[in-house]
């Protein structure tokens, strides 16, 4: 049973035999997705390579930095010309925004230009760490939800911030696994566990996943999806790596659904607790 998209209070049947993916729909803001891998479009050596890698990833959600989109440039050379929007859900992101106002402006510009009103919200005032600003992110999320956007915020792996973002009406929360571009894996593991347990919207682990095993780990923890960019884009063979991430993501999800056996504590000697029941007479 997923603890997020399927609340434990509404199980649909016994856990046994539910290890498949056909009965495991992933729904974001009313849209059902088959793939739980989101991919980014930055850092590829070429748009052609990017297109092939997206294809190989099996992903249905592709995020694009709005600041890179050049709608006035020559036809056939913009990044959007390499993404088939009939097949992929284009998820414009606000990367580069340093505060809430800039993020909101970017999103509105994108909508005015005819892009979908889904937005991956990123507010990163520190150009070195690119750490998300929790306060400005929440402000921007509130403003964008009020404007009718479907908001998927990239955020710190902070359980209370995720609560606030959820209450603000965000469609997902996207806590970071590690610093963006760091390829360090799920360094925020303990926080992600808690966020997943409590979330009422899908949890997408974003940033820092450097290897398919990292994606699998996030999914085993119960994340609903992962977003990967750098690790695919800068691999020696991005197309093969995209495929490997797809497999890692699927394996992790399948393991989570199968009910990963928890690590057991070593046996500990303790005095018996039920002895007192003997003195109480017939049960």
């Amino acid at each position: 049973m997923s603890l997020t998209t399927t609340p434990t209070t509404t199980p649909t049947g016994p856990r046994a035999g539910s290890g498949g993916l056909a009965d495991d729909p992933f729904v974001v803001a009313g849209r059902t997705l088959r793939s739980r891998l989101f991919v980014g479009t930055g850092k590829f050596a070429s748009y052609d390579l990017m297109r092939s890698a997206i294809e190989a990833s099996g992903s249905e959600v592709v995020t694009v930095a709005l600041r890179r989109v050049d709608l006035s440039g020559p036809a056939g050379q913009d990044i959007l010309d390499f993404i088939d929007t009939d097949r992929f859900l284009l998820l414009p992101n606000t990367s580069g925004a340093a505060d809430a106002d800039q993020a909101v402006r970017l999103a509105k510009l994108a909508r005015a230009a005819g892009m979908p009103d889904w937005v991956k919200l990123e507010v990163t005032p520190d150009p070195r760490s690119l750490a998300p600003d929790p306060i400005e992110t929440l402000k921007a999320a509130e403003a964008l939800v009020a404007e009718g956007f479907t908001v998927l915020p990239y955020c710190s792996a902070d359980p209370i911030l995720c609560r606030h973002l959820e209450e603000a009406g965000c469609a997902t929360v996207m806590p970071l696994g590690a610093w963006i571009g760091s390829n360090r894996g799920v360094r925020t593991r303990d926080a992600i566990e808690l966020i997943v347990q409590q979330a009422g919207v899908p949890v997408v682990v974003d940033a820092g996943l450097g290897a398919p095993s990292h994606a699998a780990e996030a999914m085993e923890l119960g994340a609903d999806a992962v977003l990967v960019n750098t690790a695919i884009a800068v691999a020696r063979d991005p197309v093969a790596m995209a495929q490997a991430f797809a497999e890692g993501t699927r394996a992790g999800r399948r393991a989570y659904r199968a009910g990963t056996a928890p690590a057991r504590q070593a046996a500990e000697a303790s005095s018996p607790m039920t002895g007192f029941l003997e003195g109480l007479g017939p049960a």
Binding site: T9, P11, R15, T274, F276
Partner: protein
């Protein structure tokens, strides 16, 4: 900012979509292997309702020691060895509802009274003298005698002296709960009695309490009114299959903590006691099953407090402590005015643990528990701080 819901669902809808009878069947069919797996998953905080069903299963009854040890580890990790003490203060036994099992039921010919605010203050002083700093105000359901205005008045009178006030009365609308909060009320206790609509209808035959759905949504209204605490529970002995109510109560606690995350949730599993109603329980959960349910609930919901009342006998109360108990009443009287003038009115039910608060504290200490009288003050949440 109050406990805003993140979903538009109500628990009534959630419960309707929960396969309670399948879960109970799975519980009755569970094997030892299922129970061991459930213990592992539950201790790791990964349990779902199917695991809970295994934990309360007959097979689990054979592994009570193992379930208990896991529940103890989880309890100590989350709550330490603190046991929060509180006392019920009965305001009134006058009632307009007819509930066939209750000693206060409308048509019973019993001595009835409603305390004046001055009498309530005297009772509260008695409890404060005993050491209590958390008082639960309890009453039967009589709109005229125990009106929202009466409750507000009583809360305002007690608020300066009693740091923590909670109420267990008939259920009210959200705006009433907001008024109670402003008057110093910190939390509300609403036991659904039984989650099965048919059993509910059979046992609640007259008065406002017969409205199942309004009562079931009570905790949601409490949360929306911004109160800090909600206590939920089922009265075991109403439903012939106790596991059905246990599963529903688990689902309810789980949903509440997910949906209203600012809320502190406690749960209780009161078992039917003799009362003036003369009601004979359909089936009384045995002692071992009661202990098993306590441990299972703790394992399923690590953060939910578990309340144990004086309706259980001393030996059972003491033995049950490590299985997940976090809140206890002590030296209780269940009749209005019972602390100052015992026997002046009919009690709701007969208590079983007759020990004084001081004796209970002694036992807690001897067993390595820390009795906690005070852990919050409504004054901290109100205007008092703004005035600083």
């Amino acid at each position: 900012m109050t406990g805003t819901a993140v979903t538009s669902d109500t628990f009534e809808a959630i419960l309707a979509g929960t396969p309670v009878s399948d879960l109970v069947r799975a519980s009755l069919d569970a094997t030892t292997v299922d129970v061991y797996r459930a213990i592992g998953r539950a201790e790791a905080g990964q349990a779902d309702l199917w695991d809970f069903a295994a934990l309360i299963s007959p097979a689990g009854g054979g592994l009570l020691e193992e379930i208990g040890q896991a529940a103890r580890r989880v309890t100590e990790r989350r709550f330490g060895r603190a046991v929060h003490l509180f006392a019920p203060l009965y305001l009134s036994n006058e009632c307009l509802s007819t509930c066939i099992y209750c000693g206060f039921s409308k048509d019973l010919d019993i001595r009835r009274r409603t305390l004046t605010p001055e009498e309530v203050q005297r009772e509260a002083r008695h409890l404060l003298h005993d050491g209590f700093r958390h008082v639960l105000l309890v009453s039967a359901e009589h709109r005229k005698h125990v009106s929202p205005e009466y409750l507000e008045l009583v809360l305002r009178r007690l608020h300066p002296d009693v740091p923590s006030l909670t109420i267990e009365t008939e259920v009210w609308d959200t705006d009433h709960y907001e008024r109670f909060r402003e008057a110093g009320c910190e939390g509300v206790v609403i036991y659904q009695e039984t989650y099965d609509p048919a059993t509910y209808a059979r046992t609640h035959v007259g008065g406002r309490k017969r409205h199942y759905g309004y009562r079931l949504a009570g905790p949601e209204r409490v949360a929306r009114a911004g109160l800090r605490r909600i206590g939920i529970g089922a009265l075991f002995g109403l439903h012939p299959q106790w596991r059905e109510d246990a599963v529903a109560l688990a689902a309810h606690g789980d949903w509440l903590v997910r949906t209203y995350w600012r809320l502190e949730v406690t749960a209780a599993f009161p078992r039917m006691r003799p009362s003036a109603s003369g009601f004979e329980p359909a089936h009384l959960m045995g002692d071992r099953e009661f202990v098993q349910l306590t441990a299972a609930y703790r394992l399923f919901l690590h953060d939910v407090g578990i309340v144990l009342s004086t309706r259980e006998p001393a030996s059972l109360r003491d033995g049950l402590l490590p299985f997940g108990i976090t809140h206890m009443s002590a030296g209780s009287h269940t009749e209005p005015g019972g602390y100052e003038q015992p026997g002046d009115a009919e009690e709701q039910f007969a208590i079983s643990d007759q020990r004084s608060p001081a004796e209970v504290v002694q036992v807690l200490r001897a067993r390595g528990y820390d009795p906690v009288w005070k852990d919050w003050s409504a004054a901290l949440a109100g205007d008092a701080l703004e005035a600083l």
